[in-house]
Symmetry: C2
């Protein structure tokens, strides 16, 4: 059986680390930023530009109900975001076709639904996420815990908007995932072998 | 490490079967109705009576905010329900002390929180739950799918009320569980070995 694992994750939950370690443990491919690099190659758009577009919602003023009927909208930024999403979807499908893999975010669960991927969602309580983010600050970063919390909320809000815009589904709603993993007070490294055993 | 596994579950999700099979696979104790029998022995209340009280919310007209301040309430049925809950909590703690086990429902996740049980929540989409319930009807039962759906909603509403009343937490909210398992289109028997491998 092909193993395609998609991972949705709350910011600061360690979902990306979990995905990376899981791919290592299962010896399958892993994609997140790399995926964007691939997209950049295919669309001739600069990687940084795409990352910016992709991380933000397609159009901040566009109501979802209208946003989903593309013909009603004539907006350059919106069309750009659409193009990036389409290119990205194509790449995700190609990669999943090529070999077993773990894909982080990017609506991969939805894009690959016909392949019946194992859809994980990784989450944790706010205190635990703030703690995780504070520990991983780069030397240049100096956010307070309060600022970090705000940043986490903003990132998650954007992720939720992005996901809901393209899938019509509620981001983080457990019904959209096969398995939801709580990483509150958990050392990611320690739980990965157990998860891999389950999926292996 | 002691393994105490608590399972919350939506009606029709197969959570009870999952728990029973998981206990078998891990060769540990399993409690659900048996637990009530134990309670009956300790409290000298008839098992059937307790089951009825426990399955319903403590007092149907009592707002939760008032209900949690026991001193404001003087109501026989409410006091009865409290007594049953207390007896039940005591038994659950005793059983968890005695040996590793799987405990279904009954707020065991909350009652045993100091023992840090592994808290599972089992859920599925409504169609899948209706299908599962229809397949398991006893020969005497003749509900239509529509009636079954209504019954599922009623049972879950009562479970949610019961859980929220005694724990102050939202039943089914993924933050209250370590692992949430979606059993939509899943054959329980087939996924249990994998879950057991993870927990073993």
């Amino acid at each position: 059986m092909g193993r395609i694992i998609t991972i949705g994750r709350e910011f600061g939950s360690g979902g990306r680390e979990l995905g990376r370690r899981l791919a290592e443990e299962l010896q399958i491919e892993y994609y997140d930023r790399e995926l964007l690099t691939e997209i950049a190659k295919h669309t001739s758009l600069a990687e940084e530009y795409i990352r910016n577009v992709v991380e933000r919602q397609p159009h901040s003023l566009l109501p979802i109900t209208i946003g989903r009927s593309f013909t009603y909208v004539d907006d350059y930024a919106f069309k750009q975001a659409q193009a990036v999403y389409q290119a990205q979807s194509k790449i995700i499908r190609e990669l999943a076709e090529k070999s077993d893999c773990v894909i982080i975010g990017r609506c991969a669960d939805y894009i690959l639904q016909d392949k019946k991927p194992l859809r994980l969602f990784v989450y944790a309580d706010m205190d635990s996420r703030v703690r995780r983010c504070m520990e991983r600050r780069s030397p240049g970063e100096s956010q307070t815990e309060k600022e970090m919390k705000k940043q986490i909320q903003t990132v998650d809000k954007n992720r939720a908007r992005y996901y809901e815009f393209y899938t019509g589904l509620k981001w983080g709603d457990k019904l959209n995932y096969d398995l939801c993993i709580n990483t509150t007070d958990v050392v990611i490294k320690e739980i990965v072998p157990a998860i891999a055993k389950m999926l292996g």
